[in-house]
């Protein structure tokens, strides 16, 4: 597991993260720095060309309080519609599955059905309820996701989940599309006398003018 995560995380360099000054310390780990979180990224055969990792999973060991911000573009992708519904239904979540390669946008009812099938497969593997699984997709608009390749990769992806920095870094690579660098960061600070950690990963290089709500 370690060596495949390590290999995946080295596929592209990491972006320099320009953190503002403040009462925090930057630490390694990205999305797995905070307690309770695991992540993994792998090549699942979704990208049009090349073997850069293209499938990522982030999980929480306990029910996590969940929030989301979504595009206000009225032509919203199927995973956006799905996540908004799930977060309307549930305040908590346990997993986020992210695929690169196809955006599953402008794919109509069939695209929405694909989201349900993928989320259901993750829920089954992790023994979760459907509404505890959220989905993000990015890539070519108008194409449905390569569902067979995605579904057949899930058991291996779940097996790769790790609370290490390599888990976070491999996931940060797997969510990229035209990005030249991966984007991942974590900080540690004291809140109310307790040390807390916040970590994150992001992707994006083109079609960037977010108006999320």
């Amino acid at each position: 597991v370690y060596s495949s995560l390590k290999e995946a995380s080295n596929y592209i360099p990491a972006a320099p993260i320009l953190l503002p000054e403040g009462p925090w310390k930057q630490i390694p780990g990205g999305v797995t720095a905070a307690k309770g979180f695991k992540a993994a990224g792998m090549y699942g055969g979704l990208r049009a060309k090349g073997e850069k990792p293209d499938l990522a999973l982030v999980t929480c060991d306990v029910d996590a309080v969940a929030a989301g911000a979504f595009t206000t573009n009225v032509v919203s992708a199927a995973p956006v519609l799905y996540c908004k519904q799930m977060l309307d239904k549930s305040k908590m979540a346990r997993a986020v599955l992210i695929n690169a390669g196809q955006a599953n946008a402008a794919t109509g009812d069939a695209g929405y059905q694909d989201v349900i099938e993928c989320a259901s497969a993750v829920a089954k593997l992790l023994e979760l309820r459907l509404e505890e699984v959220l989905i993000e997709s990015t890539g070519v608009i108008g194409q449905r996701i390569k569902k067979d390749a995605l579904l057949s990769s899930l058991p291996k992806l779940v097996g790769l989940l790790s609370s290490t920095t390599e888990g976070a870094d491999s996931a940060a690579v797997a969510i990229t599309t035209t990005d030249l660098v991966s984007k991942t960061v974590a900080i540690e600070s004291e809140v109310g006398g307790t040390c807390i950690r916040i970590g994150g990963m992001a992707k994006g290089s083109g079609m960037i003018h977010p108006n999320m709500a």
Partner: protein, 220 residues
């Protein structure tokens, strides 16, 4: 498309967390731009496990909530800036800082209008300290201000003050832009539009030939 996943082990109630996340998104991801295209897929998911053992944060007005908010803002800003830094074809990050407005939202709108301006972005790529394009982009932002209060600087070089263009060292200003492009560094554009307390930032990147090349080839 931008995607984000944020995780924390702070213990926070759902309604407080959802408001905090939207505030942080407004101060970060909603303040970046590369090409003016708002994607069909933009999403940020933020999960709080509560496993740090901290006290539960159940009010936005508490000290703990304010502390968690600034930490969340910082993480999202760090990630948002790296997206603009890595904009397709970019040679440098552009950080636009606006002060002197009535409130944070007005400053943020002017800043994003300048960061989104194709002419300003192309001028930065051409290493041209084109204060006129910056003034123009601030002027069409939709936020009213007195043109004779407009002050614009590029890094430490003052280009305009009190609405009047100033004599400045063009070579030094152009070298400032060249150096940022050489090091894939940051170009700072500072704009003041008055004496109000509002301030805000936006981030973008310069517009190069490569942006067109990349997107002419990335076909459906």
């Amino acid at each position: 498309t931008m995607l984000g996943v944020i995780t924390t082990d702070a213990w926070v109630t759902s309604d407080v967390w959802r408001k905090m996340v939207q505030t942080a998104v407004n101060r970060s991801f909603n303040q970046i731009t590369v090409d003016g295209d708002t994607s069909t897929n933009d999403t940020v998911i933020a999960l709080a496990s509560g496993m740090s053992g901290s006290n539960m944060i159940s009010s936005l007005d508490s000290y703990e909530a304010k502390k968690l908010q600034v930490c969340l803002d910082a993480v999202m800003q760090g990630l948002a800036k790296s997206i603009a830094w890595d904009g397709e074809g970019a040679t440098c990050l552009i950080e636009v800082m606006v002060t002197g407005t009535n409130n944070e939202a007005e400053a943020a709108k002017i800043a994003r209008s300048v960061a989104s301006s194709s002419l300003t972005k192309a001028a930065v790529y051409g290493r041209d300290p084109n204060w006129g394009r910056i003034a123009c982009a601030a002027g069409y932002s939709g936020i009213p201000f007195q043109p004779n209060k407009l002050r614009i600087s590029l890094g430490d070089i003052l280009l305009m003050d009190g609405g009047q263009p100033l004599p400045f060292d063009r070579n030094a200003a152009s070298d400032y832009l060249k150096n940022a492009g050489k090091t894939h560094g940051t170009v700072g554009i500072h704009i003041s539009v008055g004496t109000g307390q509002g301030s805000g930032k936006a981030w973008g990147c310069d517009l190069s030939y490569d942006y067109v090349k990349i997107n002419a080839e990335y076909t459906t």
